[in-house]
Symmetry: C2
Subunit: 166 residues, 2 copies
DNA sequence: AAAGGGTCATTCAAGTTTCAACTAACTCCG
DNA sequence: CGGAGTTAGTTGAAACTTGAATGACCCTTT
């Protein structure tokens, strides 16, 4: 911002902020393009495969999956349908709660994940991890850890500001 | 990742990576919600208003604007139409190149920007800048500066790898 | 001055995401 | 039991994004 509008952040802060925006804008797009090109998967697809694979019995309740991947249930539902059509995942109904469903990986889904993972990791290294020094990574990890913690839903606490009578 | 798939990143790197993803996933969403709630603007709207306001004569060629805001011309074109309908911006045709067009702010656009800026800056402070120590900000700025630089289109250099005869 | 090859911006069609219902099933409590 | 209130997940339409195709124009070359 120049002087055309209210003062903002200090010059230093502003510089930092711009770098962060730039990375936020470009990094996911780049990772997505590479994943798409090499394995025909979107970043969303990939994240879902990873999440399912990481769960104890390789099955996840859809709600949990939605929360873990930070998206609405609706969006996940559409996405699951697409991935189901692509043969990557399947839905299984939950024996203990008949409303519920599990997302599971198909053989093909496992194969896709195993194939894509090394490439994706390579991208992450190339564009991010290998660009930072170990010392920088350490600090970034701490700083972003704090930022992420503050952004998270925050169980209780902030829900009732002190002015409310709850 | 557990042991179910190929080794990844070191534990430390992985931790850092997760924090970064978390921020990338949550921060823009949060800023958007707050901007939307307080001033009815999307983050895209806001970034466009800012970009136009920052240019010398408060008019920007659409191509430049597309590049500056990291989006396709197509997307920008649609977005401009929406913002034009909302009364925030206008298109003016370029006198020297009859293919081209400038994006300019309307009075209403200026008002919206002036009104939204302080709130938005406050959000950025609250969720990001004030959560990091000055030392952390410094390091993050440097590290992300390097990452962003490497992600950028890279004028020339990488276009002709040394093996080519150009 | 006409041809060829570029660029600027919009449009189209296809895909994705959002939003607001909606159904079905579960829980709780009188 | 039985009905109010919740929760899980789906649906369909509208809004948005994307990439390719298009149209209009500019620039160099011959």
């Amino acid at each position: 911002m120049t002087d055309a509008e209210p003062r903002w952040l200090s010059d230093e802060d502003q510089h930092v902020w711009r770098q962060i925006i730039a990375v936020i804008n470009m990094l996911p797009a780049r990772l997505e393009r590479e994943l798409q090109r090499t394995h025909g998967l979107s970043l969303h697809d990939y994240q879902i495969l990873v999440q399912i694979s990481e769960h104890p019995r390789q099955e996840v309740r859809l709600s949990d999956l939605a929360e873990a991947t930070q998206q609405s249930k609706s969006r996940l539902s559409h996405q699951m349908t697409r991935m189901e059509n692509a043969g990557l995942v399947a839905r299984r109904n939950c024996p203990t709660d008949r409303r519920g469903a599990y997302a599971v990986l198909t053989e093909e889904g496992w194969d896709a994940l195993r194939a894509a993972a090394p490439t994706h990791v390579e991208s992450v290294r190339e564009h991010l991890m290998d660009v930072m020094t170990p010392a920088q990574k350490q600090v970034v990890g701490e700083a972003f850890g704090a930022v992420a913690a503050k952004l998270r839903p925050a169980a209780r606490a902030t829900v009732c500001p002190s002015t409310e009578e709850c």
